[in-house]
């Protein structure tokens, strides 16, 4: 009985969280954009009228028309198909990069906060220093070592994000560590791994998930920037940043080549930013009052 009640209670709690998220304009718009993005990435094979890499020599530089709704590019490739398949790439880039930076960042942050001592100083000072270098520079230097390719760009962006997650996780873990329940479990003789993984980790995770939503947008922007410079996705991949870079040469002749991928990147980033903002508004009571 009590089990059932508990799960009911949890359900309403989750529901109210979801409804609260949807009732903020930011959360609603953000979630809508992100869902559309996920759907277009998932069903790209069915939605796309052509293959994203199929070149049609007779159809070069066609402006948006009925057959090619968003026009064609310099090789006569259909822009709709490229944008749709590009959304898949973009989502994967965002997810993998954030996965790398979040897991590593959480490990560093938890370790530093739990261990303390000189290790804490060393780890947090180094992340502070790396943080001040900005993600672009760290990503750029990683690509310089690894060599230009999409995989390397994603790894580079993932590494570049670590300081941000490590810092956030560290401060969240410090707050948890100072709470009475934590001291109580130490007094009960809980093991190190129990303290870290059963107490600290589950309590910092909600914060980390919220900032990771905002982190996805930063990661997507950074990776698109690298591809734009030619240091990320290589042809013929339908990566949006790379598509934008190619459009510069045809800025006069085919302005839609510049507009469409740009709108796609901007909307995606906006979607994740709004969603993250919505999360924060719902979860942070101080922010909610504003």
């Amino acid at each position: 009985m009590s089990e059932k009640l508990k799960s009911e209670e949890l359900k309403t709690k989750n529901q109210s969280f979801f409804i609260r998220l949807l009732s903020t304009p930011n959360g609603f718009i953000g979630l809508t954009i992100v869902i559309i993005l996920i759907l277009s990435a998932g069903f790209a094979d069915f939605l796309a009228p052509f293959s994203p890499t199929k070149m049609m020599v007779g159809n070069r530089f066609l402006p948006p028309n009925l057959e090619f709704i968003l026009g064609t590019d310099e090789f006569g490739r259909d822009m709709v198909s490229r944008i749709l398949f590009g959304s898949r790439l973009t989502l994967m880039i965002g997810a993998i990069a954030v996965g790398i930076s979040m897991t590593t960042g959480i490990m560093i942050g938890l370790f530093a906060a739990y261990k303390g001592g000189w290790l804490e100083i060393l780890l947090m000072r180094s992340t502070d220093i790396l943080f001040s270098f900005t993600e672009t520079l760290i990503a750029l230097s990683c690509v310089a070592v690894l060599g230009p390719s999409l995989t390397n760009a994603v790894i580079a962006v993932g590494i570049a994000g670590i300081p941000f997650y490590a810092r956030t996780c560290y401060s969240a873990a410090l707050v948890e560590k100072s709470k009475p329940y934590f001291e109580a479990s130490i007094a009960c003789g809980a093991s190190h791994s129990r303290l870290v993984f059963m107490h600290l980790l589950p309590n910092v995770l909600p914060t980390m998930i919220v900032i990771s939503t905002l982190g996805v947008s930063t990661a997507i922007l950074a990776a698109a920037g690298l591809s734009f410079l030619g240091l990320g996705a290589q042809p013929p991949l339908p990566e949006w940043g790379y598509m934008l870079a190619g459009s510069r040469d045809y800025i006069n002749r085919a302005p839609w080549l510049m507009t469409i991928p740009g709108v796609a990147i901007a909307l995606t980033v906006l979607g994740f930013n709004l969603l993250g903002d919505g999360f924060r508004t719902v979860l942070d009571p101080v922010e909610r009052q504003r």
Partner: protein, 303 residues
Amino acid sequence: MIRFLLGKIVMAFLTVFITTMIETSYHGNPNLKPVGYQHDFTPEQIEEVRRNLGLDKPIYVQYFMYIEKLFQGDLGYTIRGGQPVIQVIFQRLPNTIMLACAAMIIAIGIGLPIGFFAAYKKGTIWDTFVMIIAIAGISMPHFWLGLILLFFFAVELGWLPVSGSGYMNLILPALTLGLSNAAIIARLTRSSMIDVMQQDFVQTALAKGLPKGLVLRRHVLRAGLVPLITMMGLQFAFMMGGAIVVENIFSWNGVGRMAVEAIFQRDYPIIQGFILTFAVVVVIVSIFLDTIYAFIDPRIRRS
């Protein structure tokens, strides 16, 4: 004050040393071959290049060699052309600094008043409107904004040159970087000002019947600007990072464009030099801002 500064300078040295440590790890990179020459090299020739660059030695030896040279102002020679790296960088650094400063002025000039206005109108339709614009601005990729500005002002209207190195050429890249950072500064300003407005001394000043404009100027603006100063350091670093991309769009001849070219040519001495320069610039700016901060707020100096 002196002790405060000394502490900052020690931290600065630490930063630069960590940077050099990361840099030397490049040398362990087995991919290193003199790219830029299309034909293949014999293993002996590659071995010779590696020996000349000191790559046959263990990494820690390489590290101390690098540091030793660094103190003599020697950052090595470019693989392509064989010029001293420090000379190549100093030729281009002023361009990047100029771009970052111009962008900073634009960003503060637009972001600060808008953020202050949004904070003043907090909770009204104006506030919402400004914040929507700001979040859209943050989501705008600056490389796309650059292309759009390029399209309208240089290609369609023909008002400004597409690329080059005159003052007129500075306008578009500075605008690109400045506008995308103005959105961030507007958000930071808004939240900083709202924090101040909720504090007791502002309420007291209002309760005393002081004119609202006076309270805003003397109490809110002054107190709200202080925390913003430290954030400007990070903003400047963001500007420098953004400059890497923007310089490439507008062919602005700065260190960022140089670095990207160097990556394509695998010209490692230049990349090392670039990262070191970046670190030094970021550190100098943050020391400068911290000093201003300590100057304005005596509590920082004493702690």
